[in-house]
Subunit: 213 residues, 2 copies
């Protein structure tokens, strides 16, 4: 079916949250990979748990707190200037290598981002990258994180398109399952060739890179 809107997830799909690893490694030599992975894991968990508890807070809060947790759990001291520096890194994450090419040509459909990121994180990130979209949408408008249906609904309303005419592009399998359950056409970008989680829904297409879109 033809697509009216191509809607992208941000973190993990266009931008690589693990690109903070180098900066983590300069703060805690030899521990960069461990810190950045635990940081990301706990950031995601907190979005799901707080949403289920009905206690939404912006992604910037979740991200800062997950960094604090990761340092405490790994018994690393987190100085104020390290915290500020690493939170700052999140505003200029690297894009994945396949992003530049994928956005070189003019898209056939309207494009957008639908991200867990709060506007205070997402807007500077998009600006820094130079990528252009018709709309940059944050779940903050619904005060609940993906994969809750209310989060995906934001894009339906903003674009005024039926959900089955929205193509949703994500590298996070749980996000692909949530978007499919909601009713989007879903493209799962599985760059690393990982196993699909079992969440009751499968993406419409599995692609190895954005280039294959």
């Amino acid at each position: 079916m033809a697509i009216d809107v191509l809607l992208y997830d941000a973190y993990g799909t266009l931008w690589d949250p693990l690109s903070v690893m180098k900066r983590c490694d300069s703060c805690w030599p030899g521990k960069g990979a461990q810190v950045s992975q635990l940081w990301r894991t706990k950031q995601l968990e907190a979005t799901w748990l707080r949403s289920l508890m009905g206690r939404y807070v912006p992604f910037s809060t979740v991200t800062r707190e997950a960094l604090q947790y990761a340092c405490e759990a790994l018994k690393l001291s987190l100085q104020q200037d390290h915290e500020s520096e690493l939170m700052g890194e999140y505003l200029k994450l690297a894009t994945f290598p396949d992003v530049a090419d994928a956005f070189m040509k003019k898209p056939a459909a309207r494009t957008g981002i639908l991200s867990n990121g709060s506007p205070d994180m997402l807007d500077p990130l998009v600006k820094h990258s130079g990528l252009k979209f018709d709309a940059v949408l944050s779940v903050d408008a619904a005060k609940i994180f993906k994969p809750a249906p209310a989060a995906y609904q934001i894009a339906v309303e903003r674009f005024g398109a039926p959900k089955e005419k929205i193509g949703f592009v994500t590298s996070n399998f749980w996000d692909a399952a949530g978007a499919k359950s909601f009713g989007f056409q879903v493209y799962w970008i599985n760059r690393a060739g990982v196993a699909a989680e079992r969440l009751g829904f499968q993406p419409d297409r599995v692609l190895k890179s954005l280039a294959a879109l």
Copy 2:
């Protein structure tokens, strides 16, 4: 404040899900720890994600699927008899070493279990252990997993007690945060002395073992 009901979480609090490790190790020599940890991680994640998606399925389904995922992700073949055997292990998990003593004396309050486990898993597990409770409650009655408020509400209705007179005992920090957000008095059993996650709520008491209750 006095407590009318002492309500326990099951998996991770009274029973150790990682006690399946030995059996996993006999199925996949040298890989038991890895399989059992990934199994548990994905089992929990699926409860949160499916709840947020509004797509509840019983814990037995989530548990079986998480085992299948863990094997695929670790590139281990899962034969039908291994799957049945390991699902069977979940019905006779080991209790933690501090459980027996804690349940030796007659409790001053009514006691119960409130678990993510579906009745088909939870009831045989409790029976096998020989532990006695006034009520064994499954979130299956609300068709959503903890830490959603509707899951904790089941105990309020079953016991007819105000939430602030229910003492909730759990080793899972996210469960402690969810129960506190809901309004229970919360005892976090932190046997391993791990860092507290940042979820906006703190337990009322942190104890090293059930013996300190």
